[in-house]
């Protein structure tokens, strides 16, 4: 998400009526893109997409395969799986960020999309927080405490670190939820196995 642009949601769904309904619900708040199958979904996907709503059972590429390709491309969009049955497997293990069971209600859809966007906000805040903490540590390592007392940049850093720390503890309820916890860790990226 950059500047004042609206978040982009990509709907990958082979049933046109269902896809239109989702679009209708979301279009007031988000820029909505639509794709009828996995291949088209992958073609529509770029850095601007924040959230993907991915139907699990589609002709051609399955939702699982599309997810795999999204992860391979290293895009940091959030992916919610939409499924007809309550999943009997652990969606966290599979690498999805959330899931929705059909029939999906409007409120559910809104809640899910806004939660996924909040996770992205958290990632961005944490990145900024890290950058400042690192900068502060560098100053502390290279300057005496007397120099730091007179250093305006240092004081500004201190204030900003504190502000960001507060923002972080208010985002995602301070990581109250297991799914938020795992998804936030997933955002750090695993080290590839040899």
């Amino acid at each position: 998400m950059t500047g004042s642009e609206r978040p982009v949601v990509l709907i990958v769904e082979d049933e046109p009526d269902v896809a239109e309904t989702y679009k209708l619900w979301l279009t007031d708040e988000y820029d909505v893109r639509m794709a009828e199958d996995g291949d088209e979904g992958l073609a529509q996907l770029d850095e601007r997409v924040d959230v993907v709503l991915l139907d699990r059972m589609m002709p051609g590429l399955s939702g699982d395969e599309v997810l795999e390709r999204i992860r391979e491309r290293g895009l940091d969009c959030r992916v919610a799986m939409v499924t007809a049955v309550e999943p009997d497997f652990d969606i966290l293990e599979m690498g999805f960020d959330a899931y929705l069971c059909k029939p999906v209600r409007s409120e559910q859809l809104h809640d899910t999309v806004s939660n996924l966007l909040e996770r992205s906000t958290y990632d961005d805040l944490l990145q900024e927080y890290y950058a400042l903490v690192e900068k502060r540590a560098t100053l502390e390592a290279t300057k005496s405490s007397a120099e730091l007392t007179d250093n305006e940049e240092y004081h500004r850093l201190q204030d900003r670190v504190e502000e960001l720390g507060d923002d972080l503890s208010e985002t995602l309820g301070g990581i109250e939820d297991d799914e938020d916890f795992i998804a936030t860790l997933r955002g750090l990226g695993d080290v590839e196995e040899e």
């Binding site: 916890f181 990226g189 695993d190």
Partner: protein, 228 residues
């Protein structure tokens, strides 16, 4: 970073390490245990956990260097009459991919193939928490040994973020987190950055064959060094 109420029971760690600053540690706190190799960091972390288990609290261990069965055997010796269903272990040295099991005595064990699998670690910790909750422990103590191993698989940025996210999770869950780092294995700036993700730190050193500790950040000014 917490806004928890004061009414929750504080963790008293003075039986393990006799510092006033450790007499009432707020639930949800994360503590970094820092010191050079062979000065008893992991020992201290495990003693803090065992102290909780003595009182029937839950315990979660993430180990980057030891096999789960060794951790459990060692833990059994520390806690006589241990209720093993209140112990969960995430073993990052698994031979195969991710999988989980229960030991015959009821401990939950989650295996990962590498300490670089941050997401898997999160899943393992979550499952341990779920198991402890199912067995009656809604919160408890958590130890990770050691961040230094994870730092060899990834960078300080990732480890800082990992620590911050863990701290936040423990904060909302009311857990006490104790994570170790080998202070001699990393440069000063790395240590300086990583400790910012914690509420406090226990620093350990060896002085003429005597082990000493001090506490920073948990209550007021840093304490003096004290033998332990």
């Amino acid at each position: 970073m917490s806004k928890k109420s004061d009414s929750e029971a504080m963790y008293d760690l003075t039986d393990v390490l006799d510092f006033e600053a450790l007499s009432a540690v707020r639930p949800g706190s994360s503590i970094l245990v820092s010191g050079p190799a062979m000065t008893g960091k992991d020992e201290l972390a495990m003693e803090i956990l065992a102290d909780g288990s003595d009182n029937g609290e839950g315990a979660i261990v993430v180990t980057t260097g030891e096999h789960a069965e060794d951790v459990i055997t060692d833990y059994r010796d520390r806690v006589p009459g241990l209720d093993e269903s209140l112990l969960g272990v995430v073993d990052c040295r698994g031979e195969s991919g991710r999988d989980s099991e229960y030991t015959p005595a009821g401990s939950f064990v989650y295996h990962l193939s590498s300490p670089g699998e941050i997401t898997g670690m999160g899943i393992g910790i979550t499952k341990c928490m779920e198991n402890l909750a199912n067995n009656g422990a809604d919160s408890g103590r958590f130890a990770l040994d050691s961040l230094s191993t994870i730092l060899t698989y990834t960078d300080k940025k990732t480890v800082f973020k990992l620590c911050h996210i863990l701290s936040s999770r423990f904060d909302t869950a009311g857990y006490l987190g104790v994570l170790t780092i080998d202070s001699a294995a990393h440069d000063e700036q790395t240590l300086q950055v990583i400790k910012q993700a914690f509420d406090g730190m226990i620093e350990i050193r060896e002085n003429d064959g005597t082990r000493e500790a001090r506490v920073l950040g948990l209550a007021g000014k840093p304490t003096d060094w004290q033998e332990f």
